[in-house]
Symmetry: C2
Subunit: 356 residues, 2 copies
């Protein structure tokens, strides 16, 4: 894929929502935001990390906050680029490329909108190969790329720059500002050179999102199972098929936290699955036994259509398939696990990996 | 006074603590901070607002947070200028003068330390003629000078810039950051031209602080009453003499809030006074009747020495004199009262003014 046009957005958003593992925002909203920007400013050139010059200035842009709030409080197209402009000004350098911090229904599409608005190319890549809830949880952190200086902007016109001693302080100060700003804000962060972007990002994410979205759509057209098609492409495994029977959710400390209980159907009749999430699904337990955990991907899909169901859209009675897929191998290094393994999130067990 | 030398600092700090109306920080700490900077960098030239050129770039610097915490958590001399440097860099302009946002034992001295460190002149002026607890409560607000862009810096090395749509948003976002930063932080704000500084600031504040400090000291030397000397110089009134019998204090939402109860002595025997504070004293009630309220100054002084007693130093058994003094008349305009009158602080009554 050499550029993202308006007609690509539906597939990209749909595929990104799968990789978003329940978080990263609603694909319908992401698509709306990007479509408005692409319509106003034209298609966005897509550049492989390998093609980015060494002296490029790459920034990631994302929406930060609780997905439960994002659904109700959209940034205007004009505001999406504010954080990126504010950060470039603080750095005193000219911005050359936009990148995605994570994969997700909103957070893969916000960078499309920002790139369109700024007239800049977008990297076909992202910082995680999935979505995670906290700022510092990106692979660039493992390569010494700092989250700050970062810029933050809200829908009211407030903006700011944070320049912190480490990424945990960036997360803490940005989270407080996000809560004040109404639980969602635009951020620009992880300023990188082209060399750092090549090394630290996960290549090909936006192309993969487009491919996943198209796969699900064509499986539906062919009357084959979209869930199976997605599982195969991701090298993953179907964990469970069932009906949502309980969702406990609260918007706390700027996150959507909670758990969902599923009652088994089809081959899983009689069994129960519990999914624990903080914006993203972190742990999947079957009858009390952990099946898969972060950093591997746990994705909830509509059982028929294969559409991703984000954590804020989980509802009683939905028939869903839970699938798991392997994370970028760098997440399974000791440094990767320290950043986003189950123990970081408060689960007292080693990571349980998906085996295809 | 044409410059502030190390030997001036004790009087300046003592006088500033009187105008600090219980807030603005501890004068001993303010003096220590400024002395270290003046010793390292030399005396600080003092400039009257009338002498500042039109194209000057003036910033106010201050410590933000709960005075109860400031007592325990000092910035290093090197960090004091960080916020000012960060803001000048964000503005892309060269800083020419430092000013005090408020009068207070720390907040009149922090600007001395910042000016010494930056090698810049300090305005003999301040933004209130007293201390108030929230950022936007300065006279420059009445002249359309905005608190933001403002910079914030902490003792750990974190810094940031806030650029908000109004001063209430500046207060809100900076207060949250201050709380995260451990309930105290350095801020630089209210970037002004020389013309704006001449119009909006209260002139002569640092000279007045030095004079008040010297007055109290010489009254002690002459065995006359320092409290009377301060009351006369301020054109104020002695409200009460008594013993502190109860102090309720909590550090909430980044402020030191509470009230103090005094039991009358001397001519006030048998009467009771209650002081209500939010960092600063806001209301003084005698036997349930409001005697004086914001915006006028309510100052608690040691009954013998005339030394100001800050709200965080109020203790059972202290013998104190409560005095009141008129605020800058601009605080009594409808716009001034909307910003810092009793109703803003939640008291359902008109301001009660001191009458000498």
């Amino acid at each position: 894929m050499r550029e993202i046009t308006e007609s690509d957005l539906a597939d990209v958003a749909r595929g990104a929502a799968v990789l978003g593992t329940g978080g990263g925002g609603d694909p319908y909203i992401g698509r709306l935001l990007a479509a408005a920007a692409v319509r106003a400013h034209g298609p966005v050139p897509l550049v492989a990390p390998a093609e980015v010059p060494d002296d490029a200035l790459v920034l990631t842009v994302a929406m930060m906050g609780a997905p439960t709030v994002m659904v109700e409080k959209l940034p205007s197209v004009d505001e999406i680029a504010t954080a990126a402009r504010t950060l470039a000004r603080y750095l005193g350098r000219e911005l050359t490329h936009i990148a995605c911090a994570e994969a997700g229904g909103v957070n893969s599409l916000i960078p499309v909108a920002a790139a369109a608005q700024l007239g800049l190319p977008l990297l076909d890549a992202d910082g995680m190969g999935r979505a995670f809830p906290e700022i510092q949880m990106v692979l660039p952190t493992l390569y010494g790329v700092r989250a700050t200086p970062m810029a933050i902007a809200d829908d009211k016109g407030n903006k700011g720059v944070l320049d912190t001693v480490d990424n945990h302080w960036a997360e803490r100060l940005a989270r407080s500002a996000t809560i004040d700003m109404g639980c969602s804000a635009m951020i620009a962060s992880f300023a990188m050179t082209g060399g750092q972007a090549r090394e630290a990002l996960v290549p090909g994410t936006l192309s993969l999102c487009a491919e996943l979205g198209a796969l699900a759509a064509s499986a539906r057209d062919d009357h084959t199972d979209p869930v199976d098609a997605l599982v195969r492409r991701l090298g993953g495994r179907r964990l469970f098929t069932g009906k949502v029977v309980d969702v406990r959710r609260r918007t706390a400390s700027g996150f959507a936290r909670g758990d969902a209980r599923l009652s088994g159907m089809d081959g899983d009749a009689g069994a129960e699955m519990v999914l624990r999430f903080q914006n993203e699904h972190l742990v999947a337990e079957r009858d009390g036994v952990v099946q898969v955990s972060v950093p591997d991907l746990i994705c909830v899909l509509d059982r028929e259509s294969g559409e991703a169901v984000t954590t804020e859209r989980l509802r009683f009675g939905q028939r869903v398939a839970v699938i798991a897929a392997p994370a970028d191998p760098r997440w399974h290094t000791p440094e990767g696990l320290a950043l986003a393994g189950p123990r970081y999130f408060g689960y007292d067990h080693d990571p349980v990996r998906v085996s295809a």
